[in-house]
C-alpha cells in the first residue's frame, strides 16, 4: 500500500530544493525554449535556405530521405520544406526534452542526496522502498512532462500563428503529435528517470550517474536520430506502437528498480 502523503512530502521537498538551485533550473528552461521557439521560427522564416539546412545537424539528410507522399501536394517546394520540418523533424525533439530534464533532476535528487549526505536520514523514516523510488521518479517526471506540455503549447502557438498563414491554413497539431506529446514523451521521461534512479543507487557522484545515464538512454536518442534522419518517420501507428512498447518497458524497469533497491547498499556506499 503506497502512502501518497509521504511521497508528496519527499516530492515537495525535492522541488523546493530544485527551485533554489539556479544552476539546475536554468538549462531546464532555456534548452526547451531553444527547441520550441528558436528552431521553428528559423525554419518558418528561412524555409529551405541552404545556410539553415546545413547548420542544423541531420536536417539535410532528413529532407533528402523524406517520402514526397507525406507532404500535401498543393504546397510549393519552399512550403513543403517548412511543413516537413515542423511536422516530422521537430517531433522527436520533444522526446529529447524529458530525457534531458530527467538526466538533470533525477541525478540531482537521488545521487545529490548521497553527495550531500542527506539520504541516510530519509532511509530511517517510514518511507517504503516503493514510495521512495516512485517519489524520486515522479520528482523528475512531473516537471519534465509539464515542461514538454508547456513547450508543446508554445510550439503550437508559433506554428498556428506564424506558419499556418504562410502554408494556407491551420494544420497543427496532428494526432501523431498528440500521441507523441501526451503519451509517448511522459513514458520516455519515466523510462529515462527509472534508469537514472537505478544507476544512481550504485553511483556516488552526480557526474557518475549522469555519465552512466547517457549510456542507458542511448536507445532513446537512437530512436530520435533515426526519425531526424528520415530512417523512421513517426506516424500515428508508429507513435502508438512505440508508446505501448515503452509502457511495457517502463513497468518492467520500474518493478526491477524497486525490487533491486537495497537500503544496505546505499548506506554502506556513502
Amino acid at each position: 500500500m503506497i502512502n501518497r502523503r509521504r511521497m508528496w512530502a519527499v516530492m515537495r521537498k525535492d522541488w523546493r530544493e530544485l527551485a533554489r538551485n539556479k544552476q539546475a533550473v536554468t538549462p531546464l528552461v532555456i534548452v526547451p525554449l531553444l527547441f520550441v521557439v528558436a528552431l521553428p521560427l528559423a525554419v518558418i522564416l528561412l524555409g529551405d535556405n541552404a545556410a539553415l539546412t546545413s547548420s542544423v545537424g541531420g536536417l539535410q539528410a532528413f529532407l533528402d530521405h523524406l517520402p514526397r507522399g507525406l507532404i500535401p501536394g498543393d504546397l510549393s517546394e519552399r512550403q513543403a520544406v517548412v511543413y516537413a520540418v515542423l511536422i516530422y523533424f521537430m517531433a522527436p525533439l520533444f522526446l529529447i526534452i524529458p530525457v534531458m530534464i530527467a538526466s538533470i533532476t533525477a541525478s540531482s535528487s537521488f545521487v545529490g542526496e548521497k553527495e550531500r549526505r542527506t539520504i541516510e536520514g530519509l532511509l530511517y523514516t517510514p518511507l517504503t522502498d516503493r514510495e521512495l523510488v516512485l517519489a524520486k521518479i515522479l520528482v523528475s517526471v512531473v516537471p519534465s512532462v509539464l515542461l514538454v506540455w508547456t513547450s508543446f503549447a508554445i510550439y503550437t502557438a508559433i506554428v498556428d500563428l506564424i506558419a499556418a498563414p504562410r502554408l494556407g491554413g491551420v494544420f497543427f497539431p496532428t494526432w501523431t503529435w498528440v500521441v507523441i506529446v501526451v503519451v509517448l514523451a511522459p513514458l520516455v521521461g519515466f523510462l529515462a528517470t527509472c534508469l537514472i534512479v537505478a544507476v544512481s543507487g550504485r553511483s556516488s557522484t552526480m557526474q557518475d550517474a549522469q555519465g552512466a545515464a547517457l549510456l542507458v538512454v542511448l536507445p532513446v536518442i537512437g530512436m530520435v536520430v533515426s526519425q531526424a534522419t528520415g530512417l523512421l518517420l513517426f506516424d500515428i501507428t508508429v507513435a502508438l506502437t512505440a508508446s505501448a512498447a515503452v509502457l511495457v518497458v517502463d513497468v518492467g524497469v520500474y518493478l526491477a528498480v524497486v525490487g533491486r533497491f537495497r537500503r544496505e547498499r546505499i548506506v554502506t556506499r556513502l
Binding site: V10, R116, I119, Y124, T125, P126, L127, E264, V267
Partner: protein
C-alpha cells in the same frame, strides 16, 4: 536492561531486544554476537571508540542493514524486511547525516513531520514546541545552511523527536553544543524519558553530560559488547567499595594512621592534605570522623568519590587493551 544471552525480562516486553547480532562486510566482522535488551523509559548508552561497531549496530536495529546472524525484536515484534517500515514509524533517529541546507528550518521539520504521518496542525504545534526547547524559534525561517554547527546539531535532534517517537536513537547528540545548550538538551531528553517513557539509545564516546542520563550502558570494543548492564550495578561491580577523600587541617600522616586503623584501607592521594580511603559500608565513615575528632585532628571535609560512567568506560577499554 540485560546483557549476555538475550532474554525477555520478566516484567513487560523490552522495546529493543538484540539477540546474538552479527554483521560482516566481506571478511571483516563489524559486529559479533551482540545481545542486549532495553526496556521502555530507559536510556541506554552505547559507548565505544571510533570503529567499534556503533553505527552498524544502529543500522541493524533500525532495519537499514540485514544482520549476518541473530535477530532484532522491536516493541515485541521481530524485525523483518516486511515490517521494518512500519516499525520505523515509531522510531526517531538522529545521526551525523546532514539536514537539507537549501531549505528553511521550518521546511526541514515539516517534511519530517509529514513523513511520520503528523497532521498539518500537529506539525505546526510540534515545530513550535521543539524549536522553543532548542532555542531556535527565531531561526524558523532561516536556511539551514545559514545556521551555526551547534544550531544544526540541535535541529537534527529536533527533527528526530518531532513525532514524539517511542524509541529514539541519538548519535553524539551533544557534539558541537555549548555547555548551556548541551545541558538544556539533556534536560529535555530526561523529561521525554520521564513523561513519555521514551526509550533512548545514545551512541557516543563523548560522555560528558550524558552520564546522568544513561541508566544502562553497553561498551563496544572491536565489534564485541564487552560490558553491558545497569550503570549503577556495573559501577558497584567494578568498584565494590565506597571511595572517600578526607581533608584534614593538621598532620596528614597522623590522620592516615587513624584511617588505616579504623577502616583499614588507605590510598596515596599524592596530596599533602588529603587522605583517600575506601569502605564497605558508609557507616564506617561516621566512626572514622568520631575517632579523628577524638584524637584532635581537625577534619575539614569528607567527600564521597563515586565512580562515574566515564571511569567505567576507560577502565573497561584499558582492561580490553591490556595484553
Amino acid at each position: 536492561m540485560s546483557a549476555g544471552p538475550a532474554s525477555t525480562p520478566l516484567s513487560g516486553v523490552p522495546t529493543v531486544l538484540a539477540s546474538h547480532l552479527s554483521k560482516s562486510f566481506g571478511t571483516r566482522e563489524a559486529v559479533s554476537d551482540l545481545s542486549f535488551s532495553v526496556s521502555a523509559g530507559r536510556a541506554f548508552g552505547l559507548l565505544g571508540p571510533n570503529g567499534a561497531g556503533k553505527t552498524t549496530t544502529v543500522r541493524m536495529l533500525t532495519g537499514l542493514i540485514t544482520p549476518t546472524g541473530g535477530d532484532v525484536t522491536l516493541f515485541g515484534e521481530r524485525l523483518t524486511h516486511q515490517n521494518a517500515d512500519a516499525l520505523r514509524a515509531r522510531i526517531g533517529v538522529q545521526t551525523d547525516t546532514n539536514l537539507y541546507e537549501t531549505l528553511t528550518v521550518r521546511d526541514n521539520l515539516s517534511t519530517w513531520g509529514e513523513l511520520y504521518g503528523l497532521t498539518r496542525k500537529a506539525v505546526a504545534r510540534r515545530t513550535d514546541e521543539v524549536l522553543e526547547v532548542l532555542a531556535l524559534t527565531d531561526r524558523i525561517d532561516s536556511l539551514v545552511g545559514e545556521l551555526s554547527k551547534g544550531m544544526r546539531q540541535k535541529l537534527s535532534v529536533g527533527r528526530a523527536v518531532l513525532h514524539e517517537p517511542e524509541l529514539l536513537f541519538l548519535d553524539e547528540p551533544t557534539a558541537g553544543l555549548d555547555p548551556e545548550a548541551a545541558e538544556d538538551l539533556i534536560d529535555y531528553l530526561a523529561q521525554m524519558i520521564r513523561s513519555m517513557r521514551t526509550t533512548v539509545i545514545i551512541c557516543t564516546h563523548q560522555l560528558h553530560g550524558l552520564e546522568h542520563l544513561c541508566t544502562d550502558v553497553g561498551i563496544l570494543q572491536a565489534g564485541r559488547l564487552v560490558v553491558a548492564g545497569d550503570v549503577a550495578q556495573l559501577l558497584r561491580r567494578q568498584w565494590p567499595r565506597h571511595r572517600y577523600t578526607l581533608t584534614v587541617g593538621g598532620d596528614r600522616e597522623r590522620a592516615a594512621q587513624v584511617v588505616a586503623r579504623v577502616v583499614g584501607d588507605v590510598e596515596d592521594s599524592g596530596h599533602n592534605a588529603h587522605v583517600d580511603f575506601s569502605v564497605d559500608d558508609h557507616a564506617q565513615v561516621s566512626a572514622l570522623v568520631e575517632q579523628l575528632v577524638a584524637e584532635r585532628i581537625p577534619v575539614r571535609s569528607v567527600v564521597p568519590q563515586e565512580p562515574t560512567l566515564h571511569d567505567l568506560y576507560f577502565a573497561t577499554i584499558d582492561e580490553q587493551e591490556r595484553p
